[in-house]
């Protein structure tokens, strides 16, 4: 087989490093100064993290950070939900690898997946121990990690044997799981009700973020379509809504939700504080998502809609089948960017007195026992948020290449 790949001459890595860091005299000075500063900062940080930091503030409050004041005797529901989530994640992961889209046969465990699995296993082994959880809880985490990896293996191994008709139903697993999760968390259908005021910590943050992300997207698409519509009423309505929301800081809107919504609705109909905040987050994010989607709509040539119309498709069908698939692909990075900032914005819930992750941290810090331990807590929160947001960004980039019709990993027609 003749290789057509260009011959790449790789410079000696040491020579390259020298050129990068000490290309000129000024570069050399800058490099030395930066290296010295980095070294000092790194040493200082490690000395603090290993000898001065008292991580007991986290291990002593781990349940509070995870689920807030969720009743202890009902927490099995959350464990069940976590296991279901692990199962679904493993299944989807394996199936994505079993059907890579390009048709090229891949090994059962490609290199990236081996790394991901190893990191996951290491986290599952080390994290619960580092938090000094009881053996029973450690065992549960190990079980959940094992379940995830097993589902990944099984679906990767036996996934191709699934009949085509069933395969199409698999993505529906996630919306179904979301509904099951809502029932498991809030109760009903024979389960004891747990009011939203008892949700907290990571549970509340994740719940708020997923709820708002799921609902703001369709709303945002509708608003973007409205803004680009030829019908003046729809256009002006969307413009006024989007610009009003984008002109106001989120905190004032949350404040409005807490203080004015009660006046706007007939007595007794006002939802709980947590749900009020969730709806405000949703309506807030919808305006920003609308702008992201609009940028995608602008990128679709007008001829696409005209061609679809001249083929006899009515406008709604032409939008759904021709315009939106192209527009959403272009708008994907900007939209995920909005989701990331929505996830970050959930921290604002702590300012209106809800106990999300940051709110929980603030109450823990108010406890005289843990006074002055804020650095440890905020550092861990920052790592947590950073990983979630970075993962969303990575996922968006992976999806972008998968959806790009010109990329090698795109599904072949």
């Amino acid at each position: 087989m003749a290789s057509t790949a260009p011959l790449v001459v790789r410079a000696n890595p040491l020579r390259r490093l020298q050129k990068e860091l000490f290309g000129s005299r000024l570069d050399g000075l800058i490099s030395i100064a930066l290296l010295a500063a980095l070294l000092a900062a790194g040493l200082g940080f490690f000395r603090w993290a290993l000898f001065q930091a008292q991580w007991v503030v986290l291990s002593a409050n781990s349940t509070l950070f995870a689920v807030g004041r969720y009743p202890v005797d009902q927490q099995w529901r959350l464990w069940l939900l976590t296991s279901l989530l692990a199962l679904a994640t493993g299944l989807s992961w394996g199936l994505l690898r079993a059907f890579p889209g390009s048709g090229a046969v891949q090994p059962l465990w490609p290199r990236n997946d081996r790394w991901a699995a190893a990191i996951l296993a290491a986290l599952a082994l080390w994290r619960p121990m580092a938090l000094q959880l009881t053996l029973a809880i450690q065992l549960r985490w190990w079980g959940i990690a094992a379940l995830l990896l097993f589902a990944r293996w099984a679906s990767g191994r036996y996934g191709p044997a699934i009949p085509h008709a069933c395969r199409r139903l698999i993505p529906l697993l996630w919306p179904l799981l979301y509904l099951v999760g809502m029932v498991l968390i809030s109760g009903g259908l024979g389960l004891v009700q747990v009011p939203p005021s008892e949700w907290g910590g990571l549970l509340l943050t994740v719940l708020m973020a997923t709820f708002a992300i799921l609902l703001c997207f369709p709303l945002g698409v509708l608003l973007a379509l409205g803004r680009r519509s030829e019908l003046p009423l729809l256009r002006w309505g969307s413009v006024i809504y989007i610009e009003f929301i984008r002109g106001a800081p989120l905190i004032t809107l949350l404040f409005l939700g807490q203080n004015i919504l009660g006046f706007l609705l007939p007595g007794g109909l006002t939802p709980d504080r947590v749900w009020r905040a969730a709806w405000v987050l949703t309506f807030f994010a919808a305006a920003y998502v609308a702008e992201a989607v609009r940028s995608g709509l602008v990128a679709v040539p007008a001829g696409q809609l005209e061609a679809a119309r001249s083929l006899g498709l009515p406008v709604p069908l032409a939008l759904v089948h021709v315009v939106l698939p192209q527009a959403l692909r272009v708008a994907l990075p900007a939209t995920v960017g909005q989701f990331i900032s929505l996830l970050q914005d959930t921290t604002l819930l702590s300012l209106i007195g809800l106990l999300d992750l940051l709110g929980t941290a603030r109450t823990v810090m108010a406890n005289p026992m843990f006074l002055g331990k804020s650095a440890e807590v905020y550092l861990v929160l920052a790592i947590l948020f950073w990983s979630c947001c970075a993962a969303l960004g990575l996922g968006s980039r992976a999806l972008e290449t998968r959806l790009n019709p010109h990329s090698p990993s795109a599904p072949q027609a």
Binding site: E20, L21, L34, E230, L231, P249, P266, G267, S374
Partner: protein, 327 residues
């Protein structure tokens, strides 16, 4: 021969108007329903729209203000003082974030690999951490753990203590005055509170990362041939950046800066997290004392809208200056 009559539901002229009428009706009914409830509930609570309470004495103190203020002054004066504080943070924040963003954005084109790497790390690190977390970190972890008195961090002309940041400046007799320690308390012509310093550092570092991305994107949008052409004409690197690349990059940068500036102005409302009294925090106190939810909300939303519009107008003017003028 019977001519086929188009049924009404396929009438191209009727359907759009019907659709609009339905949407309009739904919105109208919804608004009427909400407003009706509002008026009824407000009447029941005895809180119908009035502005006379703005003249009542506020009865609370604001720790640092640009305009003179004390508890005996009316509410409108308190809100004004809050607005001034917000404007102060926004102005300094815009200035600092622009400086930092331009520095980091241009550093990502440096010939030094380490500098490029660090500027990427900074942007990727900060953009994925919530601003509120940064603010509480700066306030509670950095500034509130500073030592006080003689142990304070002292640099030439600058003293950083838990009680504030002390700077040298001209005193009333136009003499250059350094910070002095008197009876364990620092004295200086210029004192910046730690709340303000924490808010400003958080805002500048957060927005700086976003502005750096805008600047990087702008410079990257200038074709490489422009650099090479300028170099081959004998321009020095700095001159190339200033006369050839930046004027072209600005056309891309300025619209991006506009939205970053507006988002910085709106983010300044998180001041309440690090104890700085801005417009939002004055409004919150006012609402808690008077119960005038609607009026306070209107003032709050109106003020931020005006700030946004002013920034937008200024940036659009700047945009008009840097855009390519075609015949």
């Amino acid at each position: 021969m019977s001519s086929a009559v188009t049924p009404w539901w396929r009438n191209r002229r009727l359907i759009p108007w019907l659709l609009q009428a339905v949407v309009g009706l739904v919105v109208l009914v919804l608004v009427a329903f909400l407003l009706g409830n509002l008026v009824r509930n407000l009447t029941n609570a005895g809180l119908l729209l009035t502005w006379s309470w703005l003249g009542n004495p506020s009865g609370f103190e604001i720790s640092e203000t640009v305009i003179p203020f004390d508890a005996s002054m009316p509410y409108w004066r308190a809100l004004m003082a809050g607005l001034m504080n917000t404007l102060r943070v926004v102005l300094f924040g815009l200035f600092g974030a622009t400086l930092l963003g331009v520095a980091v954005g241009t550093a990502s084109f440096s010939s030094n690999g380490l500098l490029r790497l660090l500027s990427r790390i900074y942007v990727e690190l900060i953009r994925n951490i919530p601003l509120l977390l940064l603010l509480v970190f700066w306030y509670f972890v950095v500034f509130l753990s500073l030592p006080n008195g003689a142990a304070a961090l002292q640099m030439p002309g600058v003293v950083l203590a838990k009680s504030g940041l002390y700077l040298s400046w001209f005193d009333s007799a136009l003499q250059w005055q350094l910070p002095l320690l008197e009876n364990g308390v620092w004295q200086a012509p210029l004192r910046i509170s730690v709340e303000f310093a924490a808010l400003l550092s958080g805002l500048v570092i957060y927005s700086g990362a976003f502005i750096a991305e805008v600047v990087r994107g702008g410079i990257a949008s200038v074709p490489k041939g422009q650099w090479e052409a300028a170099t081959s004409l004998g321009f020095s690197p700095l001159l190339t950046l200033r006369r050839i690349v930046l004027p072209q990059a600005l056309r891309v940068i300025v619209p991006g800066l506009n939205s970053q500036y507006i988002s910085l102005a709106k983010s300044s409302s998180l001041a309440v997290a690090c104890g700085f009294t801005d417009l939002y925090s004055v409004a919150e106190t006012t609402l808690n004392q008077t119960g005038r939810a609607i009026e306070v909300m209107l003032i709050l939303l109106g003020s931020y809208l005006v700030i946004d519009l002013v920034i937008s107008a200024l940036m659009n003017g700047l945009n008009g200056l840097v855009q390519l003028r075609e015949r």
